[in-house]
Structure formats: structure tokens, C-alpha cells
Symmetry: D2
Subunit: 373 residues, 4 copies
Amino acid sequence: MTGNTFGTLFRVTTWGESHGVAVGSVVDGCPAGLELSETDIQRELDRRRPGQSDLTTPRVESDSVRILSGIFQGVTTGTPISMIVFNQDADSSKYERIADLLRPGHADYTYHERYGVRDYRGGGRASARETIGRVGAGAIAKKLLRTQSVEVLGHVAELGGIKAEKTPIGEIRSNTERNPVRCADTDAAKLMHNAVIEAKEDGESLGGIVEIIAIGVPPGVGEPVFKKLSAELAAGLMSIGAVKGVEIGTGFKAASMRGSEMNDPFEIRNGEIHTMTNNAGGILGGISTGEPIITRIAVKPTPSIAKPQRTVNIKRMKETDIIIEGRHDPAIPPRIVPVAEAMVALVLADHMIQSGFIHPTRLDRKPEKERKE
Amino acid sequence: MTGNTFGTLFRVTTWGESHGVAVGSVVDGCPAGLELSETDIQRELDRRRPGQSDLTTPRVESDSVRILSGIFQGVTTGTPISMIVFNQDADSSKYERIADLLRPGHADYTYHERYGVRDYRGGGRASARETIGRVGAGAIAKKLLRTQSVEVLGHVAELGGIKAEKTPIGEIRSNTERNPVRCADTDAAKLMHNAVIEAKEDGESLGGIVEIIAIGVPPGVGEPVFKKLSAELAAGLMSIGAVKGVEIGTGFKAASMRGSEMNDPFEIRNGEIHTMTNNAGGILGGISTGEPIITRIAVKPTPSIAKPQRTVNIKRMKETDIIIEGRHDPAIPPRIVPVAEAMVALVLADHMIQSGFIHPTRLDRKPEKERKE
Amino acid sequence: MTGNTFGTLFRVTTWGESHGVAVGSVVDGCPAGLELSETDIQRELDRRRPGQSDLTTPRVESDSVRILSGIFQGVTTGTPISMIVFNQDADSSKYERIADLLRPGHADYTYHERYGVRDYRGGGRASARETIGRVGAGAIAKKLLRTQSVEVLGHVAELGGIKAEKTPIGEIRSNTERNPVRCADTDAAKLMHNAVIEAKEDGESLGGIVEIIAIGVPPGVGEPVFKKLSAELAAGLMSIGAVKGVEIGTGFKAASMRGSEMNDPFEIRNGEIHTMTNNAGGILGGISTGEPIITRIAVKPTPSIAKPQRTVNIKRMKETDIIIEGRHDPAIPPRIVPVAEAMVALVLADHMIQSGFIHPTRLDRKPEKERKE
Amino acid sequence: MTGNTFGTLFRVTTWGESHGVAVGSVVDGCPAGLELSETDIQRELDRRRPGQSDLTTPRVESDSVRILSGIFQGVTTGTPISMIVFNQDADSSKYERIADLLRPGHADYTYHERYGVRDYRGGGRASARETIGRVGAGAIAKKLLRTQSVEVLGHVAELGGIKAEKTPIGEIRSNTERNPVRCADTDAAKLMHNAVIEAKEDGESLGGIVEIIAIGVPPGVGEPVFKKLSAELAAGLMSIGAVKGVEIGTGFKAASMRGSEMNDPFEIRNGEIHTMTNNAGGILGGISTGEPIITRIAVKPTPSIAKPQRTVNIKRMKETDIIIEGRHDPAIPPRIVPVAEAMVALVLADHMIQSGFIHPTRLDRKPEKERKE
């Protein structure tokens, strides 16, 4: 399988470059009968869009999506859903000057080695604009999941070293979209906001940690062994541009815990089996337990910074300094939230179909309960 | 794709249960002409085998591998390589008693929900014995990588909260296999060893962190977007039983770094482009930079502990206590080292073929340099 | 893998409905460095386009393609190539009337059963317009193959029961595009033309046989066992709408031949191994022999005919007559030629990459000859 | 995907060489809860086994299968089912003499070109023994299909130019296994039998046509576009060693039919929609119609014949004669019947899961009827 397609039964193929004609994606495998409109997609794209606040790149893109196929009379037909967003404010002039300079922390050098040629304008395919296709597809996955009462929520848990307090789901749901850093802890949000402004003024950039929680996933979702739900979530999340780490449940903290602390004891609640704690993050043996699925990602600081950096002119094979002018976000985590949610939603939609919880072709059919009941 | 197969052009399919007849794997896509014998496989299996030291489960398994196909006159023929290891010391008696009890931290409940039936003996398919198939396949991948001067090295970086000092590659290479905890820092190794013994006596278990380093991977390996080398490594590593987190390069530390600290400047060394630092862990934009590829995994404490735990009898739908008797490793990290190495080797072998660095069918052919040279 | 994607390393995903906004495809896995322009694509689309002659549907579609991504400074960059063709002359009015009637020989009933909802306008996704995406992708595959001196040629070998005489490759190359039935035997072409006109006047439609020949494929291309070149060609060709049979080499005639007749003896010609005859059609054991690869497909008569037919109104569950008005080709084989060529080219491009004859990421690199030479 | 794996959700991976240690396969994706024993597999293997009659190779192989995993307490658990058959009567001596001679009609030359090395003993991987893995997997697919009342029946429709009369399903079911040529027309069976004996005495071999019919497949099974049921059946069947052609329904005859003859009119029978005829062979637009699915394959005469043939010694690059001694079937069609049935069953099992007619993980759950009912 080539690299621009993700998923098995619910799949997305993304395409497009930062300064090309357009970007988009094709979603294949969405069951027929799901009500879907451009508004559903646009809502999520607007969360990802540049220019939302003083914290994001000033590149002006309306990122208006058009659905080209797969919908008839307001519902999906089971055929591929093609989505397109035309690029508008691409300003390639600043890239001509540094066409032969390898931007540190970017994919310039590795694309050059892999392909021999590369579209150096705005990072080309390696640009964050590639994620428009993901977010568009994720919007469909989310709508599909909502028919099964599954909700996917992301928020910034740490930014520039500032950690948010743990907040209950309700606050994440209500607070996150109310501040430009997408932090559910409103006090921390202010500190984060200031930190970003400061970093920006300083010609610097900041990293952070984003947490994504999926609520309502029934027990039994996920393939064991190589396609564990955890493995697929890790692949999906790690495939986002700036992500350098992924953890599930307690994650790296588990490394220093003892078995009796880490293990989640089972109990019966409302006639159903549950775990008393959720250190596992909702996944055991690669399969969902029914508890919230909790993942966290480490996002590196934006590689494009205003400060001069040492690098190589690859044409002349000479060391030199580079000063990056373009327009960039000083901190990506707030804008990565909808992207990470999209990846989690894509994995879950795919696996709920694969696991028999969503009918693969028709939403008006659903798996019955056990026969013996 | 179903869940027991891993890889695109170099692929492994594993099969088998802990207390079944045998376990094994089939490797498809290994180019023809690679010298390979059972000794190559056995060496790696012996590193994974139980009963290597006082730290591992006393289950006695010689884990002798037999190659059933794909080799002719000492070399691979390009056809599938089937490997089998018969189970010997399976003692199912201890599992009959707890057949209906859900072991906390194990996959009992999730398998039950997913499949309705499950082989409860020794964890069935969710047992660590499943990794025999991975390690067997990984041994082939390693041998293939060695023809391209690529080396994959794992070691325990943290165990039970005890952190090893950072050690140079040379010491990792020479020290790791000399102590039962597989730690390159020999002082920390002793502390870790004691900690495991103590935990064991205490009826407890410990987690840890394993680092895997791949040296010699040329720049240009890895697909961008969804099949980033980082994403595939994350999937492969997270698919190992007890792993709850994966990071690349600086990983989670990147979240609190600034752009100017994180970015690795480029320089020219011996006429080749290199980065001065390697915070990226050898991967930019999902493609290898030529620097060492560095991954770390968080391993949770063994879920099987001697202490009584609260759980549910799923047949009677009643809460109860469980005491797990079987034979278990009080700390998995040392034995996970060869498994994690195998997963990294599998991803790299697959991607070096996919990226044109290893000919897909014949080892006696290799990609030429650029035509224009 | 969902059904709208084809190929392993060189892949196409098609999307779009007959009366939707647009149709298109995304090609992933084309190596970087291939010169490519919209003209290359348009040339092939024009061969497939309706309204080429008095034999094809009068629907007026310019089928102008736009490339949206994957090309920079006139060459491919290795990233996905997205192509779009907007629909223009869709006239849905004639379909409203028969929205609940199942057209015999069409996919109305089966889509209804599978999806519950369906876009009944012009056949929706099951329309021949879907093949625009294939032909666009095939144009890229053909251009890539031409860099390796591989040529793919299709022609109509039989139409409405009229069989063409066997003609040498040279005549197929020069004659086929000169007559509207795309038959290399110019005498038969006239008879076929008349037969189509007659059938049309009669409210009928005709089927035929199309032969596709690939010249220049080196020996050693194709995976054995399940991904035999023959199996992949069969899948690709049988996936075209009206195709009911596929054969390779002597095909069904082989069933009544004796071993000594069928077997192609080997000889040495110009210092190379060749077969004296080519009953095998260029494939042995699923792998190319170096001789021309010869496939033939059986194309059924167009299901849309002017004559009244018995059918069922699916809403009222009542039997009734249907008269199909729309605009249709009385014989598809001439227009299927470029589609079948596209499928053969896609399979060959994919397998030449998979078999190491085309570098997977860079056209400026190619596999060297055997090391030992 | 590498070439030794077939299927998407219900998949088989086969391995093994004719004169190696063993052959076998791994089935992944079989839902849990299917009663399955070695007897189920053995029954099908016995139909494929050599030495069944005077028409088959005298190689003596009991072909006893052992199931190594995936079954617990008599039912499948949803984990991979590994099957093994040890080779017994491999006599490699006759192959040493012709190790460097390319057998016409065999894959010797193409494997040599592809891999550089090859196991020349008994055809190695390209031997018909490879199909043991397919038949084993097919036996499981058949058993799974039977739980949905789907039956797969194969029979020889033509052998050595002798055509069987068309027979009703009942006679195919009762007669086919009663004669060594597996022909449902008992008169033709005798003529075929004699023809094979004669060809054998003459040092020759014969080809034939095998028809495979699947009864009971509900409407709505199959993916449109590239994964049409017809395309997947074509791939599966064409991937069998000696097959040179595949057709669905009227197949190649459709090429000379008119639309009004070919189209199957719809009617209502017992309150259900059916077609009055079945020229389509049970598939429209790549999706099942509910009518019997009918496929036919062209099987070439066995390439191994006793007569001397011209060929090349590849080591000395000299033309020479070859006389093949080994032990071979003078006509493969009777033994290909269970193999072709297996491939059809594998495709159908896979697609019935993909289409939501069989629950992907648990046989005790099944898709409910439309919600609105």
C-alpha cells in the first residue's frame, strides 16, 4: 500500500501540496445512508484553518470545502466521497530564495534524498495543509461514530512546558473551543497563550502535548496482534507531521508503576462489566474495554523559526545560514487538536466496521445482539 | 487486512496459542539469495526464550525452530519461509480453575467480548508466546539488513523506575547481552536486577523503558504522509503486548523544547550531509535522515502478579477475588528487547525494499547510483 | 481494501458519479521525475470520450482533465497525482421517470440491495463514466512504461459476431485508431461498422472481443501464486463494467489442445532465451517470459437498449415494462479499448515496480544488472 | 501485498515447496464459533490428493493435515488457523538430471529470471502441491458458507475436446464425485476417461474446462468498481497454475449476443425479485443478484509430457532436447475441481463478511434485517 491512503474498510486517500492548485481527499467505505453535507465538513475544517487567532499563521485561507461525489439527496450512497479545497493565499516568493537550503527540522533533505525532485514551495506535500484532507475525512468518521454514540474529544494538555490540570470530560467538552490554545483548564490556557505570544516575539516556537479521548466505544473493538487498536491509533497519530511520541492510558508513566497499581480491577456496574480505574486507557490486548480510550501525543515545536540557523545549500554543497521568512504558527498544538481527533475518529470508524459494530454497507442495518439471547 | 499479518513487501504472518500444538510464522517477500539457516533464527529465539535467568518465567521451553520452506541449498529462494516451534511445557491445569475469571490487565475480557469464545489457557493467542513468530521473522529481517550494513540494537533504558545512564553505541553493543536485565549501564543493571528480585518476592511486577537504535539506515527510507517510517515503527512497537507508549528521538521531551533547541542544524561531514544533533531520532517528514533511528517504548508491569486482585466471574456475573498462579516474568523489559528489535527490523527491511534500497526479488541485484553521475 | 482502489505500489483510486459534479482519480506511487502534462492525460481521455463518431452516445462531454497535484516544473514529484473532469452534459430528466424500475443487465438491483440508497441518474457510480478515472491513471502508467520501452496496444478483435483476421503488430499499431470501431483489420472494420449501425436502428446492441497486447515487458515481472501477472490482469480487466470473460494467450482454446501443441519450446535468439511460439501469452507461472503479453476480453452487448423489456418496479414490487430512453452506445467495444489498455498498463506499471524493473521512488535510478557481471 | 496471501477479511497465506519438508497455509479472519475439525479439511484434501485413480500421478501422498492453532474445544476462536501437511514421497532424483533444462510450459525460466535461484525439484513452489494450502483454506471457507446455506459445486464441463451435456444442479451434485474425471454427464465421463488413458499412452496430455457454481449467495454481495465479485473470482481462479481463461455467466458467448438476448429480465417469484434467465451468471455491476454464480475456467494440458521437447540448457546457454520423467497427471481438470471450488469459496466467504452477511468476528451474531421493518 502506498503512503497516502489510511485505513482498511473505512479509508481515506489524501492528495495536494501547500502551494499547488488544491488539496483534498477521497473517503472510501463510508456506509450508505449517513446524512452528510458540506457544513459537517466545513465545521471541522474551520477548527483547523489558519488565521483563527493571533496565535496562528496569518496565511488567509477560507478553506471552503466542496463535496464532489458520494452524496445523493443528502445522504451517503456508499460510493467514494471526494472533497476538494482550493488553495488561495499561497505566496511562493519567499520560498524561491531558499529553494536550495535545507530547513532544519523540516522534510526538505529527506524528500530530496527520496525523490530527487521536490516542490519546495511551502513544504510541498510535507506541509500542514496536507492535514485538510485528514480533517475532512475525519469529519465524516465523526458523524458516522456519532450514530453509534461515540464521541471524540481533543484538548491541549501541555504547551511550552505549561501543564494543564486534569479536568473532567464535561469541562473538556465545554471549555476547549473557548480559548485559542484549546486548553480545557482555563487558567493554564491564559499562561499558555502568553507563552506563545512571547515565543513568537522571540522568534521562537513551542511544542506541547495533546490528549484525545474517545467516549462510548463498546467493548470488543480492535484486532489483536499487529492491528491492535493501540497500534493503529499510534500509527495514525504518529503520522501527523510534528508528532514525536504517542501514549495510551498511563503511557510512559506505566514504566515506573508496579503491577498492582497498573492493573485495573474489574467490577460490575449497572449490570455491566467495567474496570474500576482506567490505566489501560480503554484498551487491553489491542481491543477496547468499553472504558474511554485515552491517547496523548507529543508535538514538537514548529520547525520554522525566525532565528537564523545553520544549514547546507544542497546545490552548492556548502554550509550556510538560513533565515526562514514564510508565515508560521509559533505553536502547532492548538491546530493539531482537530487533526488528531480526525485520526482517532478514522481509526475508530474503521475498526467499528471491521469489528461488526457498524454495518459495512448500510447504516439502516445493524448487527443484532447475540442469537442466544 | 486481518490482524495477524504485518508489513507490505516484506511481511510476516504469525499464528499459534500459548498452550496449543505449536506457534510459528510465515515470512513472505524476502528477496532470493540470502544465506539463511535455522541457526540464524535460533540465536534470536534464544534471547527471547523463557528460563534464561532467575528473572524469567520458569516455564521450560527449548523453543527449537524448524524452517519448513523457502530455503534451498542454504539460501532463500524468494518464496515464503515458514517457521515452526512446538510447544512443550504447557501446563494448562492452573488455568482451568480461573477459566471464568477475568485477569486484570490481561486481554481475557476483551477477547471474550470480541469473539464469544476464547482459549483461556495461558492467555491463548494473547500470550507473549505469540512473539516467537515475530522474533523468528525479525531474525530474517536482521540478516537481510546486515547485507546493507544496517544494525538494530535494543537495550533496557529504565526498569522499575531505575534509569540507566546514557551510554555510547559501543557499550550498548558490548554490555547489553552480558547481564540478565539487558541494560548497557552495568551499574544500573545491578540495581535493576535487585529490584526485580525484590518485586518478585513481593508478589509484584515492574515495568520499564526499552530503547531500540538502528544504525546505518541510508537517507531516503520511508513513505511520507500515512506510512511515515515513524508511524510504521509506532504501529509495530505498539503492537507488542505490554507496550503503552512509543517515542522517536527526543519524543515527549520535545513537547517542552523550543524550536531552536529541537531543530537539528545541517552540516557537511566527510562530503556528506548530516545533522549536528539528532533530536529528530533519524526521521524527518517520515523519511530517514541517515542518522541513527532512535525509538523508545514504555513497557507496563507484567499484569500477572501473585497478589490477590478484584475481578469478575464472567459466567456467574459476580465480583470475586483472583489469585494468579501460573509462571510469569516479574519484569518483561529484558525479554521484550529482542521482540522490539524484531519489530524495528521488520519495519526497516520492508521500507528499504519499498524505498528501492534493497531489490525486491534478488539480492544479487541492487539499485544503481543516480544515472547522471 | 475497499473497492475503489487498484494496485499495490502504483495505485489508483477513482471516484465520481455519472450525473454528479465531477469524476476523477488519484494516482499514488508514481516515481518522481516523470515528465507529465495534462496533454498526456487528455490524449487518452479523448479516445474514451463520448461523441467520437456516429457509433457512440451523443452525450456531449469535452472531458477536459485538470491535474491538481503531484506535478512540479513539468515532472512528477512522487506525491499523489489528483485528476478531475467536471461533468457537463448530464441530463437526469430521463432517469426520474424510471427511478424505481430495475434496468435489466444494469446494476440497479444489486446496488439497491447492497446500499439501500442509490443515485439512479445515469447509472450513478456504475456508469461507464467511472472509467475516466481509470483512463487518466492509465495514461500515467503508459507514460511510465514507455520509459522502459513497454507499449500497450488494444484493438477490437470481434464485434457483433464479426471476427477480424489476425493482423501483425504493425498493422494493429497503424490501423486501429483509423476507424471508429478500432479494428486493425480494415475490411472487418467496415462490416462491424455497418453491423453497429444496423443494431442501433433496430433498437439493439452488440458485444465483442477486445485484445490487448503488451510488448517489451522483460522476463521476470509478476508475483507467483496469488498475485500472478495473469491473475492481476484478469482482475483488472474483469473489473471493467461489461466484461464477462478474460483469457491469456490461447485462452479457452487451450482446453482442447494437447500438451505438445500448447507448450512453447525454448530457443536461443540473438543470445537471449525466447519461446518459439507464444501460446502462453507471455506468462508462465504468473511471471512474464519476455514475449508479448496477450489478453482478450469478452464484452457483453450494452444493456441499455431501445426495445421494451420486462422488469420490476422495486418500490411497488410489481412487474412492468421498461423503455430506456437515455443516450447510449449501441456497442461498447471500441470505447472499451482505451479502458482495457489502461487496466493492463496499470497492472504492468505496478508489477514492474514490484519486480524491481522500475525504481519505486526515482526514475533517475534504475536497478543495475547482476552484480557478478 | 506480497503474492502468497489472498483475501481481505478472510485471508489465506500458503507456503511450501513440492519437495520441501511440508506444505501448508494459515487462515486468518475466520469468525469465532465455527465447529471445525481436521476431518473437515481432510475430506477436501482427499479430493485433491494424487493417486486417486489411474488418471492421476502415482506419487503416493497421504496428505494428512494437522491443525496447529485457532481451534479450541472443537470451534474456531477467531485466531489464525495454521494447517500443515508433511511431504512424504518426494523423489528428487529425476530432477537433478534436468536441473539446468527449462521445461516448456513450466515456470522454470520465469522463476530463474525473477529470483536468480530456484528449487528445481518437482517445480518447487510452482508445483501443484502449492494448492494443498488453498484447498485446506477452502474447506474452512466452505464450512463457513454452509452456515449461510451457500454451496459451491465444481465439475468438469469439457475434457480433451469432449464436451459434457448441460446437467441440472441435482445431477452435478450426485454424479460428479462418482467418476474419476469428475464429470456430471456420465456418458461424456466415459469418453473423457478413455481420452485421458489414450493421451497418457501416447505420451501426451489434455486440457479442459471446469465449471464452478455457487448456490445460495444472497443479493448484495461484492464490492463495485475494482473489487467486483467477478474481478475477485477472476483473480482467484486465474491464480491457479494451469488456468488460461475465466468467464462468468455466458462469458465469451456474450460477445456475439444482442442486448435483448443477453439481458436477464426481472420478475417477482415467491415475493422476491429474480431474473428470468441467468446470462449474467449471478453478478451485475460486480455485485451478486441472488441467482447462482456461475464461473468457468480454461485449463491447459499438463505441461509435463513424455515426448521429447526442444529447450535450452540455461547454464550452458545451449539448445537441447528434454525428456521429462517425473510422475504427472495426463489431465489436470479432475483434480483442479476441488482447487477451483476452494478459490470460489474463499472469495465468497471474504465478500460475505465484507458485505455484512457474516459477522466478522462472531458466528453467534448476525446482521439483523432492515431497521425499518
